[in-house]
Amino acid sequence: MLKISNVETFYGKIQALRGVDLDVNDGEIVSLIGSNGAGKSTLLMTISGVNKAKRGNIVFNGENIENQQPHKIVDMGICQVPEGRRIFSRLTVEENLRLGAHANEKGKYFINDIKEVYDLFPVLSDRKTQRGGTLSGGEQQMLAIGRALMSKPKVLLLDEPSLGIAPKLVNQIFVSIKNINKEKNVTIFLVEQNAKKALELADRAYVLVNGKVTIKGSGQELLKNKDIQAAYLEGGAKN
């Protein structure tokens, strides 16, 4: 479905991705773990078209998208929940959601989509006229996910949904991600520092080190992998 081959991305002269190969199949949950500065967010931004790949190909459903404009990519069905949530803080919850439907706000059916988001995250429904900035971190993350779902994506790219969120809410959000995948048939590509959670959830997973994929396998395999345990599980997340 989404095939990334040999992608290299630069910030000026600094190379952030050094030839990433990775693929995501229809209906899967794929996780990408790695430490700070490994290039995880850069990869998502490159898929979204916000950063441009200098070399390599990104193919989505048979079409090359590496040179597409970001809004075209969203139109095609890839939507990103950016790192740090990036809620429109002065706009209300409902306005935030409608902005998510920007790519396909043609007609009235987005009212239904909004309802689906409220069913998924009932707390948002209680706060629909509240300003986005007044929500708690976890609620903002739900809003960010809901907002991305409004564009009816086929693939949802999630950048560190657990960042700065209370552990209890993290569990809830991961359950929601699983539901979105199973019930709404949305393929998930998840980037996480919380390696344990991300690997438990994933069908398959990749490890990114210094802009390169070093290990890949099923989520369970990677959980048992000695190197990963040493690097990302024992030291990092102790839970």
Binding site: S48, V74, P82, I87, E95, K115, A148
Partner: protein, 422 residues
């Protein structure tokens, strides 16, 4: 209060005194006077020490006040009245204000001077509303807005004097031209944000003014354009004795001739134009493009990741904001019947930005209040000539101190509760 606090406030006010001395010393203290041949410096240290003393005393009193943790009650009452106008009361306020604006020309105390000031305030309200689309909604700081005002005024003047077309044909054309210039400015600044954008837009404003001065063949340079046709009341001119074969306004309606007819007509014209701007802005905020403007102001990266096309969004904001500036410009041209580049200097842009920012970015009612406050105060002090600008600066400082986010800082949601029928 503790002794330590008093000493601290005293030190602080002495420091203020030093700054005041550094400023007032050369500005006020050294007065140049021409006596016979050449200039002589006459020192006036008395006034300087008076001013510095006032600053020290004022600062000391403010310090004492804040040390006691009490607000300056007069101003906090005053400002809390303003915040009370927000949200639910805003609608009543708007309706009252519009009704007042409609009957204003026929109130007993309204004379020619009041009408002129009112027309000026309305022009600034319209410009403020137009710029509010760019600065308040889309968050693009435009310091060269006067350029579009100028483009509108000159397009109107040139089209009307060259082809002799009526105001109602020239007005939309002037708007279209200004909108086109908005896109012209928009393209090179697509990637810029914040300070850099402000500098380029400022430059753009100056470029337009300098072109107007130097392109003598077309714009008549610094001499400006004279004899711009006055607007007619749907074909009926406001003239004492109409040309042959024409009927003028007062003859048609069987009124005694008065120059006030034209003034009142101009007043209603700018009122309607301004209200159209406001109506348009309020409506477009609820449409996807308007919401995208506000989203762009909040977070550009989030916008991109959600499929908002930032290029189109920015260009529409620039174009539509510029278009309303152009409308206001053609109104200005037809009112003055004479325009020159001098009317379109940077200070105009600065005043319009000040109105938008001090009104509370994005607040339509705030723009009205700020226009009345800033332009009104400046006009009230017109008799005091050079002290006018001090009043203007003082008004700005007052708003900044007591309402740092603008007079009306609350943003009104575009969607109210709906679909609670689950």
């Amino acid at each position: 209060m503790e002794k330590k606090d008093i000493i601290q406030s005293f030190k602080d006010s002495l420091f203020t005194g030093l700054i005041a001395l550094a400023l007032f010393g050369p500005i006020v203290g050294l007065r140049t006077a021409s006596k016979g041949e050449g200039l002589f410096i006459t020192p006036q240290w008395g006034i300087v020490f008076l001013l510095v003393g006032l600053c020290v005393l004022g600062r000391f009193l403010i310090n004492l006040n804040s040390a006691r943790k009490t607000e300056i009650t007069f101003f906090s009452n005053f400002t809390s009245k303003f915040s009370a106008i927000t949200e639910d009361k805003a609608k009543h306020f708007a309706i009252t204000a519009i009704l007042f604006a409609v009957v204003f020309p026929f109130l007993p105390f309204t004379d020619r001077y009041f009408m002129d000031v009112a027309i000026m305030i309305l022009t600034y309200i319209m410009l403020g509303w137009g710029l509010n689309i760019v600065v308040g909604l889309a968050g693009l700081l435009d310091l060269g807005y006067v350029a579009f005002y100028a483009v509108g005024a000159y397009s109107y003047a040139l089209i009307a004097t060259t082809f002799g077309w009526s105001f109602w044909i020239c007005l939309p054309l002037a708007g279209v031209f200004a909108g086109f210039f908005g896109i012209l400015l928009g393209f090179p600044v697509l990637r810029l944000r914040g300070d850099y954008l402000a500098i380029v837009t400022l430059g753009f404003g100056e470029i337009i003014r300098i072109i107007l001065i130097n392109w003598y063949e077309v714009t008549n340079g610094p001499d400006g354009i004279t004899g711009i046709p006055r607007p007619s009341f749907f074909g009926l001119p406001f003239k004492r004795s109409p040309d042959e074969g024409e009927t003028s306004f007062h003859l048609f309606f069987n009124l005694e001739y008065s120059t006030m007819h034209r003034i009142i007509f101009l007043y209603y014209l700018i009122l309607v134009l301004a209200l159209i701007t406001n109506y348009f802005t309020l409506k477009i905020r609820k449409l996807p493009v308007g919401r995208a403007w506000e989203a762009l102001r909040e977070d550009e990266i989030a916008c991109k990741s959600l499929g908002v096309n930032p290029t189109n969004t920015k260009l529409t904001a620039f174009a539509i904001g510029a278009m309303f500036g152009g409308f206001a410009g053609s109104f200005f041209a037809t009112r003055q019947a004479f325009i020159s580049p001098e009317s379109f200097t940077f200070i105009e842009s600065a005043i319009i930005v000040a109105i938008v920012v001090l009104g509370g970015m994005g607040s339509q009612t705030g723009v009205v209040l700020a226009s009345i406050f800033l332009i009104g105060i400046t006009e009230m002090f017109r008799d005091l000539e050079q002290y006018r600008m001090i009043a203007f600066g003082g008004a700005m400082v007052l708003i900044m101190v007591f309402k740092p986010k603008g007079i009306l800082a609350n943003r009104k949601p575009t969607i109210l509760m709906h679909g609670d029928k689950k």
